[in-house]
């Protein structure tokens, strides 16, 4: 604790507490000043009343019995209180003391305070009133001002104690509060350090009090969640690259080594380099698809989303794929409602639909029929692609979206095993739900755009910065592969038609 104490004292909450204690002290001081003044005035006026009634009484006896009566009255009084608290002084016009328990004075008229020395006891402060009587004699009556002094002393003592207690309490509560806040902040910063040390699954514990700290922690945890999934997606890509690109790269290398040992003629070399370039294109295509999935999964900025004319997009798809179906001797029918719009990225949505259609066409035999239709309900727009091919067994339906997953039955067909992974990633980005059902025979592939999600997307303008960082990292590997490909390409005069890294 001794090490933590200076930190506690340095916290902003502690300083704030001290500031408040100081402010409280100042206001208390003003209050005490006012009370001090007012009680003083009140005490003085009550002393005055007592003095005045005495003076009136003495004047009365002067008026009634003359000089002798007054002197007797004064002497009688003095007998009762020779040493206070009442003090009286009666002087003749020459200033000689006639009677009194106060030393002679040139005493003025009116009210004043006076210090009176006493025999065998300390001098006393009195509050007095002096008047000149009609016959020229001077009369002064005073009262010990002790009650006023005592009251003032009491006030000062009460204030002193209460201020001390307040300050101690403020100090203690400030320290306690700061220690509490410090503990919560320490939890956050410890979690941050753990995460930096590599434990990405760590989250900051919430206390459940729904206070401002819980609110902040919930936001931080959501951010950590997002970052972790973005990192996970990068990790996934590197794993995929390690596992699934190594095989074709090995094959490519073997092919070149074999040619190096065996190829005799220029034609043979030409054939090998053609083969290598097409191998390389396939690898780059896979790589490009992985890159794109990673980009999409880590979240393309939703601010790029715009209203997309889904009907027009689907019609374009039909226009593109109809002739292909005819060539495959498949029947392609369509039933598209007009005026359907959704929020999204047109290019990605086009690719999603294209992949689903291509999937249906690729896995359906000649003579099969393929259909693309839309069904609009109040809650959702459903885009359904049906085929009359072999379908997907119910047990495998969840697995077809995995990267590089290919059904046993379709391993002989060309394809990277990434088409549906890409569909799933694009769908997730657009909050489109995917539903695979039996079309008996064949597969019914439904993409549902729920209107509630569409409203959210329309209002969603979250900028997601990490997308760019992720893609930049991956593109560095991309460039390295490019360097290899360039080497292979130079050997060949006839290069292949496409750069497949595009998609």
């Amino acid at each position: 604790m001794s090490a933590a104490l200076p930190r506690v004292l340095r916290t902003s909450s502690f300083r704030l507490t001290l500031l408040y204690a100081g402010l409280f002290g100042c206001s208390a001081l003003i209050l005490v000043g006012v009370i001090y003044g007012w009680t003083g005035m009140y005490m003085a006026s009550s002393l005055d009343t007592a003095i005045d009634s005495d003076i009136t009484e003495l004047e009365d006896s002067l008026r009634a019995g003359g000089h002798e009566a007054l002197t007797a009255q004064v002497k009688e009084r003095l007998q009762e209180t020779p040493n206070g608290p009442m003090f009286i002084l009666l002087q003749d016009p020459e200033g000689k003391v006639i009677a009194g328990n106060i030393p002679p004075s040139h005493g003025g008229e009116g009210r004043f305070d006076l210090k009176v020395p006493r025999i065998n006891s300390p001098s006393v402060a009195i509050h007095a009133h002096g008047i000149t009587l009609p016959d020229g004699e001077y009369l002064m009556v005073g009262v010990d001002a002790l009650p006023r002094r005592a009251m003032h002393k009491l006030i000062v003592r009460v204030f002193g104690w209460s201020s001390a207690i307040t300050l101690v309490l403020a100090f203690a509560s400030g320290a306690l509060m700061s220690a509490g806040l410090l503990r919560r902040i320490e939890t956050i910063s410890r979690t941050a350090r753990d995460i930096m040390a590599g434990d990405f699954s760590r989250r900051i514990p919430v206390r459940g009090t729904a206070d401002e700290f819980d609110h902040l922690i919930a936001s931080l945890n959501a951010m950590l969640e997002r970052n972790e999934s973005a990192m996970e997606s990068v990790r996934q890509v590197s794993n995929d690259i390690a596992h699934d690109l190594r095989t074709p790269l090995t094959r490519l290398r073997q092919r070149l080594e074999l040619a190096q040992r065996r190829a005799r003629s220029a034609e043979e070399w030409q054939r090998v380099s053609d083969g290598c370039i097409s191998d390389m294109d396939a690898i780059l295509e896979t790589f490009g698809a992985l890159l794109r999935i990673a980009q999409i999964e880590s979240g393309i900025p939703a601010r790029r989303f715009a209203k997309v004319d889904l009907s027009e997009l689907l019609r374009t798809m039909i226009e593109i794929y109809q002739p292909m179906a005819e060539e495959n001797q498949q029947r392609f029918t369509a039933d598209i409602a007009s005026g359907l719009t959704v929020w999204g990225d047109r290019e990605l949505l086009a690719q999603m639909v294209a992949n689903v259609i291509e999937n249906a066409m690729k896995h359906s035999p000649a003579g099969a029929s393929i259909g693309l239709m839309t069904i609009q309900s109040p809650t959702a727009i459903a885009v359904t692609v049906i085929d009359s091919g072999p379908g997907i067994p119910a047990a495998d339906r969840g697995r077809v979206f995995r990267r590089f997953y290919r059904l046993e039955s379709s391993r002989s067909k060309p394809g990277s095993g990434l088409g549906l992974s890409l569909v799933e990633a694009i769908a997730a980005l657009h909050r489109v739900s995917i539903d695979l059902t039996d079309n008996s025979p064949g597969l019914r592939f439904t993409l549902r755009f729920f209107s509630s999600d569409q409203r959210t997307l329309a209002g969603d303008r979250l900028a997601q910065h990490q997308t760019h960082v992720v893609s930049m990292t991956i593109q560095r590997w991309h460039s390295r592969l490019w360097a290899k490909r360039r080497g292979a390409g130079r050997e060949s005069a006839a290069t292949k038609g496409t750069a497949s890294g595009r998609d």
Partner: protein
């Protein structure tokens, strides 16, 4: 064609420059953005090939500065950035075309040729004529030997694009981009299918075949040699 290549990766720059020289172009090479801008402003080139990521002034800003200075030399961006957004940024900055690394060299050659022809085709051309094939872009009608050929709208766009680049090789990706506005690579051979349908409408029954497949590169509309 006189081409300025702005690319900092020496090996890649030499590869591209030498390849283009073999194609008969004059190629000047610079390795930095600032140098590129000075050369592009000071000398008259027919085409700039600019890498997006170059030291100093990057490709995007180079082209922005160039356009701001009132130069309209066509620009082809080369880049390893292939996000959709990157392409849009490149074109918005004033680039005319965008090619993502790695690319097939034939793709680069085709796009360079297409950009070189650009200014002439933007002029109002009332008719595109090749041998006995005639296209009227205003009424969107196609005639061969005076005989009207019925084409679907997309087939017409495909043919018009090929005709505007008659004599040049047009790649599959160029067709996907310009005819279908598709910027990803569909697995299936949709371009091949559509070309073969177009061929059956335009070339079938005529002695002179006009739509040619260039092996490993793309397609070309030209008179038979």
């Amino acid at each position: 064609m006189k081409i300025l290549l702005v690319e900092d990766d020496g090996e890649n720059a030499d590869y591209v420059a030498n390849g283009l020289r073999e194609e008969g172009h004059l190629v000047a090479q610079v390795a930095s953005g600032a140098e590129g801008l000075i050369r592009a402003v000071g000398d008259s080139f027919d085409l700039l090939i600019v890498d997006r990521m170059i030291p100093g002034l990057d490709g995007l800003n180079l082209v922005k500065s160039l356009r701001a200075a009132g130069h309209h030399t066509p620009v082809l961006f080369l880049t390893a950035l292939d996000g959709v957004e990157d392409r849009v940024l490149g074109l918005n900055a004033g680039g005319d075309d965008y090619l993502v690394k790695p690319f097939a060299f034939s793709e680069l050659v085709a796009r360079v040729a297409a950009l070189g022809r650009r200014p002439r085709t933007t002029a109002a051309e009332t008719r595109l004529i090749l041998l006995d094939l005639e296209i009227d872009p205003l009424s969107r009608t196609v005639r061969r030997r005076g005989q009207l050929i019925e084409l679907q709208p997309r087939e017409y766009r495909l043919l018009e694009y090929l005709m505007r680049h008659a004599g040049q090789v047009v790649t599959r990706t160029m067709l996907l981009e310009h005819v279908w506005d598709i910027h990803f690579d569909p697995r299936s051979n949709i371009v091949e299918t559509h070309i073969s349908r177009l061929r059956s409408k335009v070339d079938k029954g005529f002695e002179a075949q006009l739509i040619h497949t260039v092996r490993g590169a793309g397609y070309c509309v030209r008179s038979p040699a």
